[in-house]
Subunit: 150 residues, 2 copies
Amino acid sequence: MGTRHKGAGKEVRALDAYIKLMRAAESVSARLAPHLAKAGLTVSQFGALEALYHLGPLCQRDLGKKILKSGGNITMVVDNLEKRGLVERVRGEGDRRYVTVNLTKPGRKLIGELFPRHAGAIREEMCVLSDAELEKLGSLCKRVGLKEKS
Amino acid sequence: MGTRHKGAGKEVRALDAYIKLMRAAESVSARLAPHLAKAGLTVSQFGALEALYHLGPLCQRDLGKKILKSGGNITMVVDNLEKRGLVERVRGEGDRRYVTVNLTKPGRKLIGELFPRHAGAIREEMCVLSDAELEKLGSLCKRVGLKEKS
DNA sequence: CGAAGATAGTTTAATATTGAACCATCTTAA
DNA sequence: TTAAGATGGTTCAATATTAAACTATCTTCG
């Protein structure tokens, strides 16, 4: 039937784009992770340090929103960063429910050195695309990512 | 310096596109996962079942290549699917190193029912883009994903 | 004030994920 | 043929990840 056929075509296109989106993200991520692993950091740990580096101290809840992870996960990631002395927890003075996560001096040093190198590696990964294509990819991804649940 | 400035501009564009790519993939994935969780499947479990459904029986190594996961991980994912009776392992007869993973009847039934629903959910996620935009996104992602390490 | 409800974090149980060490099996080459 | 090396899986240790149950703290309202 005409309708079914059109619908199926749209679905195939959507599925195909979805698969390529997922594989691109996974492939790039898999190629970048070893780069970070050399510095002894996981992707989430790097993400947390980078957020603190560029945004300043954050409470765990905000940190979780930034790197799109659950509260329970943030507890563990911050635990592991704290064990290594890269961040420190400070219990809120006004509202004692909050825990602010701060970069320590060694943490700031590490991410300050690592970020530029990592950004370079990302650039290497993405440089198969022209400037215009990067912008196009970015804007399409943004629209897909921002889609809200109905 | 002119050169530094141009280089920095390219790097900013690459970083920006990278971040949007990652967030789009994570956001869509996070919105789809609960859908699968209702059927008691994780994303990897679904991926494995779907690969077996569309490609037929595979050995664990090939399954890992298909869903981009490590060997150790495949062992666990197949373990969990096997516990639930959705797949079965068959030791290779010719070459006893291989383990072929087959869908069981319940496994085939489950993925056969679930796949169309999941595909519909993916379509819903992606339908913020037009057909032409889906094709464009797919082709850009494909090029980024396929980039080989130098 | 004091109980009810909201909010931030932690803990727990289950699965995921990787790399490395390891075992079994097969292939190759001396 | 047999020792060396390659290949497929498994196991292990560490970290990630989530949802759900739980603790501590704060806010609100009667």
